[in-house]
């Protein structure tokens, strides 16, 4: 049963990585990349590394997402610049 669960989580990681590559909206791509980190942290709990899981949950999928959003809002396209999607 745990094997099925790990397989499902890994498929979820790959799907969210593909979404982060191919979604048109930049916000959705950033959130999908955060979701890949989130599922990776659940697999770390399954592989008995709770320290790493905690770090990945707090830093990898929490703060990194917000840093990306801050950078995105600083580079929000002004009128007259090229569209950057």
């Amino acid at each position: 049963m745990l094997t099925f669960l790990t397989l499902l989580l890994c498929i979820g990681i790959l799907i969210s990585a593909l979404l982060a590559t191919y979604l048109r909206s930049m916000v959705a791509a950033i959130v999908s990349a955060g979701l890949a980190g989130l599922f990776a942290s659940v697999t770390y709990v399954i592989l008995a590394a709770p320290d790493v899981a905690m770090t990945e949950a707090a830093i990898g999928s929490g703060i990194t997402t917000v840093v990306f959003l801050f950078a995105l809002s600083k580079t929000r396209s002004k009128p007259g610049s090229k569209a950057n999607d």
């Binding site: 320290d51 929490g62 703060i63 917000v66 600083k74």
Partner: protein, 227 residues
């Protein structure tokens, strides 16, 4: 189109390399070498229940010092790149958050802060430690920044906390050279009773310092990105 083809070829070559590694990998069934030593002797030798903590703080303590330095340099580099010019220093006013978010802030901010402190004080007993606790403390500061976008956190205070804890970390490391076996040795204080809060010598102290340092560094990094 030719460019796309070259990208695909490069990717396929890397994939072949990875396939070779992955097909020859079998899951390990027993420990070996230095890990065997850490698992069997580490708890008696250093008195910390969490072996990852004793590897991070004591056995590989010098690496952690270097890593904290790398984090400091990257935070300093980012704030150097993001600094504003003097003449464009006007305060831009953004819309306040709603009342729900502000009320949640006043209830949840102390709880999240306390949880971060709990994580890095109990780093030698439960999963967690300085880096995780520092990240949670930085998340509390981030929540403050999101809920009250027009207030700012004192940058000087964060810088003072950060440099003071970094300095004390190195002083504790040098204390290990004088009083115990080597740089960052934790047996300066007594080992205490195994599994209690005041145990494992210097490990809780060092993790508290690392937590304060990481928390204030990430907080000032986020502050730089916001303004």
């Amino acid at each position: 189109m030719l460019k796309r083809l070259f990208m695909l070829i490069a990717l396929v070559l890397i994939a072949i390399l990875f396939f070779d590694v992955a097909s020859n990998f079998t899951e390990r069934s027993e420990l070996s070498g230095i890990s065997q030593y850490y698992v069997e002797q580490g708890a008696e030798e250093l008195g910390a229940a969490n072996l990852v903590t004793s590897v991070v703080v004591t056995y590989r303590g010098l690496d952690t010092l270097g890593e904290v330095t790398v984090l400091f340099i990257s935070a300093a580099g980012a704030s150097l790149l993001l600094r504003r010019r003097r003449n464009t220093n006007k305060k831009l006013v953004v819309e306040e958050s709603s009342e729900i978010v502000q009320t949640t802030l006043s209830i949840m901010f102390p709880i999240i802060m306390l949880f971060g402190v709990y994580i890095f004080i109990n780093g030698h007993l439960t999963p967690g430690g300085g880096f995780q606790g520092g990240a949670v403390v930085a998340s509390a500061l981030l929540f403050f920044m999101l809920a009250r976008p027009n207030d700012s956190i004192s940058h000087k205070l964060l810088m003072k906390i950060e440099s003071l804890s970094g300095f004390t970390y190195v002083v504790l490391g040098v204390l290990g050279v004088i009083l115990a076996g080597g740089f960052l040795d934790n047996r300066v204080l007594g080992l205490g009773e195994f599994g209690s809060l005041f145990s494992a010598g210097l490990i809780p102290l060092i993790y508290i310092l690392v937590g304060l340092k990481v928390g204030s560094e990430l907080g000032s990094l986020l502050q730089k990105f916001r303004e």
